[in-house]
Amino acid sequence: MISFSPTEEQQMIVAMVKQFASDEMRKIYRECDESGDIPDSVIDTAWKMGLVSSSIPEDYGGPDGEHSAITGSLIGEELAWGDLSMAMHILCPSLFAYPVLEMGTDIQRKKYLPLVCDEKYKATTAALIEPRFGFDPNSLSTIARLDGNEYVLNGEKCYVPLAAEADLLLVYAEENSSRQGFIIEKGTKGLEVGEREKNMGIKALATYELSLKNCRVPKENRLGGEKGCDFNRIMNCSRVALSAMAVGVAKAAFEYSRDYAKERVAFGEPVASRQAIAFMLAEMAIEIDATRLMVWEAAWKLDRKEEATKEASLVKAYADDMVLMVTDRGVQILGGHGYVREHPVELWLRNGRGFVTFDGMAIV
């Protein structure tokens, strides 16, 4: 039966996350963007809401909630509305946890999932993107080769969130022309974390380059063991998560520029009372809503374990364009004021521009 109404439980989670986003994240996001640093206290407060661990079954130390891409999308949107860097930081452990939860062997789940159910935030992460022109997740340059009882990994990665502090990394690599994940523990020989990256946006999120030089991991560290993982599904879960976050960022820019346009007076009237501005805002609102509904549809397919590559990639491309259009207009509507860092819209434009690049940096 067609319905556009989240469950009561989902509505409660959304309300809680929204509250946190507006009470905590929105108070400090500018400071964080300038300093490149997010206070531990905010991350800890967020962690206590159990946004990641709530998906983990009791057997692995979690509260036994259901893992749902729709719920994940709703959370992603609200957190990203608060601040994208913090949202990615808070949800970073899921980059490791969700693939293990969905596709890991029983041994892998038992061994690793309790770590993300800890009361204290512990960073775990994943590495997908590679620092080269024409990067394509469907053909990675990082290579994994089986050598006896070990896999040997070689390659370069970038945009790896929290790589320096993460205890566990899930590194995606090409193995016999399939994409597989490999669990690498911090300090493994051959795993080198580079300098912290300097990016146009998401400046408060610590991301790193990684290099793998003959990095050896035990055979049993391949995600999903013999069976391997469903890489395509992981990508789809990432596309949906990022699209949901794009909706959140766009919504932030829309609301701010709408309110500004109602206050800013030119020629004796609020600028919002002119169609040139009002129609921009109307189109922003329409496209934000449309993208959100496309996110829900793709997430719904993921929750039903159906093939969702078409839906996920369509919404991702649509969201990439939408968020850029909306955040750019956010700046435009504020005019010169939009360009100065006293207002947040320039930050949202910088963050919004990144979505097309952020493959694999969030997951539902």
Partner: protein
């Protein structure tokens, strides 16, 4: 729970609608495009015969949008020819009393009958508050005078059947919008005549006419909603406007049908040519064609989901004025662009009247115009999101 699954019954009806579209609509699609004012009698009879199956019934839920989409995938002009209370019926439902619904719509059960809505005038279209057609009370009657244009299915409602037209008129010009009321005029009422039949860019199977009211008398009870005029309130006008909340998403659904027809045709042709559209590939690696197709598909999907949401809200009795306008604005423009792009992609096959694609491009355009142009729907959307009155945002 957020859900996109149809019930088995809904699925069956949508499949049936698609079969009908293929078997009944498509084969005569070109003929009635080229023979503009001919009546597709066999088609009408067949649609009348199967009316009880509920495939073409209007309905105000998400599944109704999907059935409408399928039928318009067949042919949007013929879709409008299906005997039904149509927009007139929607207005009676939205603004009429229970008694009026029974009285006016009971006659639709006997033989092929149509309903129409008359709003636009030579001097006003989207600006419905500027209506000049007058309704003057005379004892137990209203006397209507004025001229209405662009009445969809007006001829079939009033000349080919015993149908009705819902007419918007002012009972008090000095009251502005508060004076605008809607009236039901049954076919055959003296003083009402159908004039000019428009020759159109598309949806040529459907008729679009001018109706002239010349001291046309109707019973007092034919006014929809409250006959009182209170200058300080515009409840009656808003009641009439509420019709749009129901009809706009249905127009959006019609648009989607035309858009998908074009999209399906392009994709089918590409498939026959061995050209595969890849998903999940980085955009910089897509061909220009793949970019175009995926963009068209995404826009179609965006419009579709907005449409389904607007109708779902209606079925949940939630206010959906904003969402209806959003859906209509998006769908009208999206399918206009999709069909135009499709013609470009198909090259000589797109432009030739040997194929239906050029017709779909012409058919699609009306969806960005009737039941409120794209611009009017943007204006409604803008006013709603800004919480502005019509005086604050003109």
């Amino acid at each position: 729970m957020i859900d996109f699954e149809l019930t088995p019954e809904e699925k069956k009806q949508i499949e049936k609608a698609h079969e009908l579209a293929e078997e009944l609509f498509r084969p005569i699609s070109r003929y009635y495009d080229e023979h503009e004012h001919e009546t597709p009698q066999e088609f009408i009879d067949k649609m009348w015969e199967i009316r009880g199956e509920g495939i073409a019934s209007m309905g105000m839920d998400a599944a109704a949008a999907l059935r409408t989409e399928e039928l318009c995938w067949g042919d949007a002009g013929l879709y409008l020819c299906i005997p039904s209370p149509g927009l007139g019926g929607a207005a009676v439902f939205a603004a009429g009393t229970k008694e009026q619904v029974t009285r006016f719509l009971a006659g639709f059960g006997e033989k092929p009958t149509w309903g129409a809505m008359a709003m636009t005038e030579p001097g006003c279209g989207s600006d419905t508050a500027a209506i000049t057609t007058t309704a003057v009370r005379d004892g137990d009657e209203w006397v209507l005078n004025g001229e209405k244009i662009f009445v969809t299915m007006g001829k079939r409602a009033l000349e080919d059947s015993n149908g009705l037209v819902v007419v918007w008129a002012t009972v008090d010009k000095s009251a502005g919008r508060a004076g605008i009321k809607s009236f039901v005029v049954p076919a055959g009422t003296p003083g009402m005549r159908v004039e000019k039949m428009e020759k159109k860019l598309g949806i040529r199977a459907s008729d679009t006419v001018t109706i002239v009211f010349d001291n046309c008398r109707i019973p007092f009870e034919n006014i929809l909603g409250n006959p009182e005029v209170k200058k300080t309130e515009t409840k009656g006008f808003r009641g009439a406007m509420a019709t749009f909340d129901a009809t706009r998403p249905i127009i959006a659904a019609q648009a989607l049908g035309v858009g998908r027809a074009a999209l399906d045709y392009v994709k089918e042709t590409l498939e026959n040519e061995g050209i595969k559209i890849r998903y999940g590939v980085p955009r910089q690696k897509l061909t220009a064609l793949e970019r175009d197709i995926t963009e068209m598909e995404a826009n179609y999907k965006a419009a579709k989901l907005l449409t389904l949401r607007a109708l779902w809200m209606m079925s949940q009795l939630q206010p959906n004025s904003l969402e209806s306008s959003m859906a209509k604005a998006k769908a009208g423009l999206a399918v206009t662009k999709i069909t135009q792009k499709a013609v470009e992609i198909m090259g000589p096959l797109g432009y030739s009247r040997k194929y239906l694609l050029e017709k779909w491009m012409r058919d699609a355009k009306i969806n960005d115009i009737f039941e409120g142009t794209g611009q009017i729907n943007m204006l409604v959307t803008a006013r709603r999101i800004l919480n502005y009155s019509r005086d604050q945002l003109k």
